[in-house]
Symmetry: C2
C-alpha cells in the first residue's frame, strides 16, 4: 500500500510552481519508492507544471480545488471555504484517500482545518506543533508546542510530553527519549504555576523525564524532547530562526569591507555553509502537527522547493512510522477506563 | 559629590580577587573620574588584593562583612544573614553611604535583598531585570523583565514598559524609545490573555508603543525596548547567552579538523572576535534591577573581571543619569491622585 501525501499547492508566498517542483524533487530520491503525491489546487495550472518538469505520471495525481485561503484570513472564516485547496486536502485524508497533508498556507487556518476536518486522536485534548532545534550533538531536539496553543494547562503539557516522546522515539529510533520541561531553573520549585505542577506530574509519569531545563539547554543536546506552552515555544522558535539572518548580515558586511575576511570566508566556506544549514528551517522542512486523526505538516509561507521537499519527507516518515497509531495506543491507555477523550480532555 | 558604588566581593564563582581586579580596572578608565568604590567583604582579604594591585587609596574603601550567601541558599534565608556582604552592601545604599550595589551573588538573594533593604519606588509594584540584546543596528535593545517575576499581570508589564523606556532613553540618549510587546503575532489580538490586554493598555499609554513584536524581532533592531513577563524573558535571555558557546563549539571542531578552515579563521579573526563579543554577556556587564530605591546591578555568578568592570560602568551610568528619579517622577504621575503605590500595585 503506497503512502499518499496530499500537497496543498496554494497559500504559499512563492506560488504553486515552487511547491510542485519541491514535492517532485522528493520523488526523485530513491528512498521515496512507494510514495505517491496528490497535488491539490487549480488542475490546469498544476498539470502544466507537472508536464513541464516531466513528473512521473504513475506516482502523481491532481485533485482540483479552485479556492485559496488568504494569508490574512481568519482561520475560522478560511475553513468555511469548502473549495479551498487546504480544506480539500484534509477531506482527502478524512475520506481515506490520502494519509497526510503538507501545506505552506496560513498556519492558523491549517490548524483549524486539521482540527475541524480530522478531529483529535482519542486522549488528546490539544494537538501541538513540534519543531526540531539544532543541538551540539548530532541529533536535533524536538520542542513542543511551538505555537498551536497560546494558553496551556498542565494536562496539555503532559500530552505534549507523551506525543513528543513517541514522535522522537519513532522518527529518531531512540527507545526512551529524554524528556525535559522548559523553565527558568532546574529545581522542581522554579518556574510558574504551570511548570511547577507539570514538573510534579511528569515526574510521576512513565516517561523518561529528566527534569527542568533552561533556555541555555535548547541547543545543548541535554534532552531529546523539550515541552513548553505554545506562547513560549513560538517565541523561541522564531528567535532561533532569526539567528541565521542576523549572523549572515554581519558576515556580509564584514566581507564587503575587508579583503582578508573575504579570503577567510572562502577558506571557511564549508564550515560557514554548515552553520547556515544548522539554523535554516528549510532543512527541517516543516513542523508536524501532533494529535489529530491524520498527519499534517505545517510549512512556512515562504517555503522554498528544498523546504517543501523536506516537508514531504517528514510527512512520509510520520506515516511510515505510524506515529498516530502509537499516540493513540499510548494516550488511550492513560485514560481511566470508561472515560472518553472528551471527558478527560480540558477545553 | 562622587558616585559611590558598593561592590559585593563575595558570592561570585571566581572569588573576590577577580571581582576586585575587575572593579579597579574601571577606575583606570579616565571617564571614571568622580567614582568611588566601596568593597564589601572580608577586610583582610580585600585589603591584601588592593595592596597587591596598587589600587588608588583615595577612591577605594573597604566595608567589612564576613558572611556570604551560598549560591544554593533560599533567597529569604539568605537575606536574614545581617553580616552577609550582599546585605551589608544594600544597607550602605539604604543608609545613604553608597549610591549603587554591584553583585555577582545568587540572583534570587540579590533581588530579595534589594526589595527588603531598599524597598520599591513609589508607583512600582514589581521591580524588573532589564537586559541588553544585540541587534542588527548599532544600538542594542533592552528586554525586560528577564527573570525577576515569573508571574506577571498587566499592570506589571505596563510598569516594565515605562521603566524600560526611561532607562533606555536616559542611557542611550534616545528621546522617545520605541517600545514593543513580545508576543506571537503582530496583530493586537494575537498572544495570550496577558499580552492582549497589555497591548490595549500600552496603546493608550503615553509611551511610543509600536505594537507587538515576535521572537524574530529580538535581534532585528525594530524596537528599542521589548516588554515581556519574566518567565519568557529569562528563557530567551539564557537561550541568547548560549548561542556564543554553540557557535564556537562548532568552529573549534572545524578548525581542529581542517587546515583550510584554520587559515580561514585566522584571516577572519577580527570578524569572529566581533561575533564572539556580540553574544558575550560580559560585554554588557550585568543587568540593572529597575524599580527599587537604589541602583542594583545583577551579574552572572561566573562573571570575569571584564564583566565586573562593565557592571560597574552600568551602575555608574544609572546613578549619573538619575534613573530612579526619572522612574519616580514618571510613575508617580501615572497614579490616580491620593493613591499610594501600595494601593495601585498588585501583589
Amino acid at each position: 500500500m503506497p503512502i499518499r501525501i496530499a500537497v496543498d499547492t496554494m497559500g504559499g508566498d512563492l506560488g504553486p510552481d515552487v511547491i510542485v517542483r519541491g514535492a517532485i524533487q522528493y520523488l526523485l530520491d530513491k528512498t521515496s519508492d512507494g510514495t505517491e503525491l496528490i497535488f491539490v489546487g487549480p488542475r490546469e495550472t498544476i498539470e502544466s507544471i507537472l508536464t513541464d518538469i516531466k513528473a512521473p505520471d504513475d506516482r502523481t495525481s491532481v485533485e482540483n480545488a479552485d479556492d485559496v485561503i488568504a494569508m490574512d484570513a481568519s482561520p475560522t472564516d478560511g475553513i468555511r471555504k469548502k473549495g479551498a485547496s487546504l480544506v480539500v486536502a484534509h477531506r482527502l485524508v478524512k475520506d481515506g484517500k490520502a494519509d497526510a497533508v503538507v501545506s505552506t498556507g496560513n498556519t492558523g487556518a491549517v490548524l483549524a482545518s486539521a482540527m475541524f476536518n480530522l478531529g483529535r486522536i482519542e486522549g488528546v485534548s490539544r494537538p501541538a506543533l513540534a519543531s526540531h532545534f539544532p543541538t551540539s550533538n548530532k541529533k536535533p531536539c524536538l520542542v513542543l508546542d511551538v505555537g498551536a496553543n497560546s494558553h496551556c494547562r498542565v494536562d496539555h503539557l503532559l500530552e505534549f510530553a507523551y506525543m513528543g516522546s513517541i514522535y522522537f522515539s519513532q522518527i529518531m529510533n531512540v527507545p526512551h527519549p529524554r524528556v525535559a520541561l522548559l523553565s527558568i531553573g532546574e529545581e522542581a520549585s522554579k518556574g510558574n504555576d504551570l511548570t511547577v505542577e507539570a514538573h510534579r506530574r511528569l515526574s510521576s509519569s512513565s516517561l523518561n523525564f529528566i527534569g527542568n531545563v533552561e533556555g541555555r539547554d535548547l541547543l545543548s543536546g541535554k534532552s531529546d524532547v523539550i515541552v513548553c506552552d505554545g506562547f513560549v515555544g513560538n517565541i523561541i522558535l522564531k528567535f532561533a530562526e532569526s539567528i541565521r539572518g542576523f549572523l549572515y548580515g554581519k558576515i556580509k558586511r564584514q566581507i564587503s569591507s575587508n579583503p582578508f575576511s573575504r579570503l577567510g570566508a572562502i577558506l571557511m566556506g564549508p564550515f560557514l555553509r554548515r552553520i547556515h544549514k544548522t539554523f535554516d528551517y528549510s532543512q527541517y522542512g516543516g513542523v508536524p502537527l501532533l494529535g489529530t486523526n491524520g498527519i499534517t505538516i505545517v510549512c512556512h509561507g515562504s517555503s522554498n522547493a528544498l523546504a517543501v521537499m523536506n516537508a514531504i519527507r517528514v510527512a512520509n516518515d510520520a506515516v511510515a512510522k505510524e506515529i498516530n497509531k502509537h499516540i493513540n495506543d499510548q494516550l488511550s491507555s492513560l485514560r481511566p477506563v470508561g472515560q472518553s477523550a472528551r471527558e478527560t480532555g480540558s477545553e
